[in-house]
Each structure stands twice: as structure tokens, then as C-alpha cells.
């Protein structure tokens, strides 16, 4: 699983644990880039909406499912990965926007 931290106007960012990494994911062109992320437990995904339209980070995968809500242009959201496994990310507004995250222990 992960711990999600909303960013943007109200950002709550904890210091990364030793050895943890941040993985930026962009939304320009209505695509998650990169579309596949290899991460480890303790890492953080940072989703930045650098597109002109509102997007979203929605995870439909059972046991990982979360919804970070509408993300307007210029805003960022964060997910701290707390459990190994693989999950998918979708934009609620744009069905074609997808990404896959593989989390190793």
C-alpha cells in the first residue's frame, strides 16, 4: 500500500527515509510519463499535472485502491509506497490515461 499526501496549496511533505527515492510522473499531453515505474517500498510517487487540463490519480487495483481527487493544472500529489505489489493508475476523466507501478520490497 502507500501513504498518500496531497500536495499543491497545502503540501505536507515528510523527509524521505534513508535510501528512499522520489519518482516524478508527469501528465503533459494527457499521458502519464513514465507509464511504467519501478519502485521500492518507502519510495514516493510525485504526480505533477503539467498539462492544460485537469486530471486525476485513481488506483482501481484491489488492496491498493485510492483516489486523490481532481488535480488541476500546476498541482502535484504524492503517494508514499508502503507495500510491495503491482497496481495501475488511471485518470478518472480520461480513460486512456494509464500507468503501472511495480513496487518491490
Amino acid at each position: 500500500m502507500w501513504r498518500s499526501v496531497l500536495a499543491g496549496t497545502a503540501i505536507c511533505v515528510a523527509a524521505l527515509p534513508a535510501g528512499a527515492a522520489e519518482h516524478p510522473i508527469h501528465m503533459a499531453g494527457s499521458s502519464y510519463t513514465p507509464a511504467t515505474v519501478e519502485a521500492r517500498v518507502g519510495d514516493t510517487l510525485v504526480f505533477t499535472n503539467d498539462d492544460g487540463d485537469a486530471h486525476n490519480v485513481f488506483v482501481p487495483t484491489v488492496a491498493f485502491s485510492t483516489d486523490l481527487g481532481k488535480q488541476d493544472p500546476g498541482k502535484s500529489t504524492r503517494l508514499i509506497l508502503t507495500q510491495p505489489g503491482t497496481f495501475e493508475v488511471e485518470c478518472v476523466f480520461h480513460q486512456h490515461m494509464t500507468a503501472r507501478v511495480n513496487v518491490s520490497p
Partner: protein
């Protein structure tokens, strides 16, 4: 249901302006869903400090998990429930790393599929034969309810997802569709 299957962005977004013939009045409150129905997934919503418990009626699920299309008579529930907060006001994490529900329900969203229901909805806004409603925890329909936002948001999951954000996806991931 953000979701259900429905959620904020991925949920039953309720806004102003509905449909004359369609409408929440034909979607009944599903008494006993929380004890007798199947909770097929839980969606965390950190910005709202809630979880969204997703249920399906067992009769429909029996057909869907056998590989049939999501059948006539399917009812999906999205139950919004508060979660425990830490001293800083952030959601606590349980031993599995997930939010810890308090048991306090704050809203219940329902989407129901009945043959012919879609005919009452304008073609360009129709979600197949689905219709939507929203209830307070006591089962009373929310006042001045309008479900046009539900139709608009769920439109993004037409096709193989059958206008659902989570249910059809769970079936697909389980190889049931």
C-alpha cells in the same frame, strides 16, 4: 455508486439539473447491504479523510463472476465512511498500511441497472441502463438530489467497464470478463 464505483472525481458527482423521466426516485435504498452484500473493494480518499466501501448485490455478482456481462438488476453501492485520524489530523494507517475506518457512514451512493432505464435519459448522456441516487445514512434520499453529474462522470468508463470505475475493473483483473 466514485466510484461505485464511483469516486469524487471517481464518484457519483451530484450537481444541479436532472432528467424528467429518469431519476433517483426509481433507485431504492438497499436495506441491509452492509451485512448481506459483497464488499468487493475499498477506495481510500485521503483528501476527504474517508474510505469508500464498495458493495455489489450477491445475485448480480454470481452472474458477473461467472463471466456474464454485468447483469440487469445489478446494484452497486459506494458507502462513504470516516477514518481515524492521528494527532496531526491525518489518516492513521493500520497494520496493513491502509486507512482505519471508524464505522461512521456519512453518505451512501447507489447505481442500479435495469432494462430500459436508459431510454429515459438523453442519448448523448445515457449510461446504458444505469441510474443513480444518493442517500443519507438513515436511508433518506438526499434533498434536492440531482444526478446529472453522476451520468457525466461515469460516461468516461463506457465500453468494457460498463460505466463503472471499480466493479468491472475488479472483474477484469480477476479474469472474470
Amino acid at each position: 455508486m466514485r466510484s461505485p464505483v464511483l469516486t469524487g472525481a471517481a464518484g457519483l458527482v451530484l450537481v444541479a439539473a436532472g432528467y424528467a423521466s429518469a431519476g433517483p426516485e426509481r433507485v431504492a435504498f438497499p436495506n441491509g447491504y452492509d451485512t448481506a452484500w459483497i464488499k468487493y473493494t475499498v477506495v481510500e480518499r485521503p483528501d476527504r479523510k474517508i474510505v469508500r466501501n464498495m458493495y455489489v448485490n450477491p445475485e448480480a455478482h454470481a452472474k458477473a463472476k461467472a463471466g456474464e456481462p454485468i447483469p440487469d438488476g445489478t446494484v452497486l453501492i459506494m458507502e462513504d465512511m470516516k477514518v481515524k485520524l492521528d494527532a496531526s489530523g491525518n489518516p492513521e494507517l493500520g497494520s496493513t498500511g491502509r486507512f482505519v475506518p471508524t464505522g461512521e457512514v456519512i453518505a451512501i451512493f447507489v447505481m442500479e441497472k435495469r432494462h430500459g432505464w436508459g431510454e429515459a435519459v438523453p442519448a448523448d448522456e445515457r449510461n446504458g441502463d444505469w441510474d443513480y441516487s444518493s442517500f443519507a445514512p438513515d436511508g433518506i434520499v438526499r434533498p434536492n438530489l440531482n444526478t446529472s453529474g453522476c451520468f457525466a462522470c461515469h460516461m468516461s468508463r463506457s465500453g468494457e467497464r460498463d460505466f463503472t470505475f471499480t466493479y468491472a475493473k475488479v472483474l477484469l483483473d480477476q479474469g472474470k470478463r
